[in-house]
Symmetry: C2
Subunit: 162 residues, 2 copies
């Protein structure tokens, strides 16, 4: 019965996750893949990016990261994962003052593994376009930017929006 219970729980968790690009090719340098079920993770916060990106974004976190956010735990523990989903920002055709998501652009993943990624603050990075990781040159810039701007917040930009 115990096995069956675990199986049912597992099935309930995995069942809605059968879309997206999970478990594809890993990112250069870090070998990060898009985690199973990331689209079902809890919203940490929305954000907006101006300039040439002109995007709306939703930053989602797995249970380990959400727990850390809620408890104010820094650094994030191993196993914490964040996914930043980005879409082009387009005017709502139905409500004049609103902008809404247009086509999806990138999915960006951060995974905490303090041993594996010791040289980059414990974080592995992956930036994906249509489910494929972008090139090595782009991945070389990830940690430098996070280190320069948010080293006081364990290299994570996003704060929890309550």
């Amino acid at each position: 019965m115990k096995k069956r219970f675990v199986f049912v729980l597992l099935a309930a968790y995995v069942a809605p996750c059968a879309q997206g690009y999970a478990d594809g090719e890993g990112s250069p340098i870090f070998g990060v893949t898009i985690p199973e079920g990331y689209r079902q993770w809890e919203l940490i916060a929305p954000s907006q990016e101006e300039g040439s990106f002109n995007e709306l974004r939703g930053i989602l976190g797995n249970a380990t990261s959400v727990k850390a956010y809620r408890n104010g735990t820094l650094p994030f523990p191993d196993g914490a994962m964040l996914a930043k989903l980005a879409w082009k920002r387009v005017p709502s055709p139905e409500f004049g003052s609103a902008s809404v998501p247009g086509h999806a652009t990138t999915v960006q993943i951060m995974i905490k593994d303090s041993k594996k990624y010791a040289s980059t603050g414990g974080w592995g990075f992956g930036r994906f376009l249509d489910g494929k990781p972008v090139d090595e040159a782009q991945h070389e810039t990830c940690f430098g930017c996070h280190q320069a701007n948010v080293n006081q917040h364990d290299y994570v930009f996003t704060r929890f929006a309550p």
Copy 2:
């Protein structure tokens, strides 16, 4: 054992939801309250509102609504619920071209019950400020605006952002 199983599932669902303003005072006209666990619902889409609102928003949906979105089911079935969480849009202090959530403003709820809310397209509305419903005059405007702009999408503005 069956009872215990249901209890464990229920506990697993309810446990993370012990914050927020769930189950407080109902909205005027509709009697809609903020549903338990809404903050853990899946992200349907982010959005942005300009002008005097100047907000970033995250629209979350319960499992019934997410299933309807994924299957393209219209009208939404009874039991579908949507929550629009809004925050003031402020410049990121750490990344020049980004905007991030400032203080939380409103939580807005839509609940589908085709019998109870037959006169408003099957939807009950609730708009909450600091967990308290706003006044009746504001609630009188909900359906008129949804009807005027998105009657072809079962009175729901938000589309699923994949």
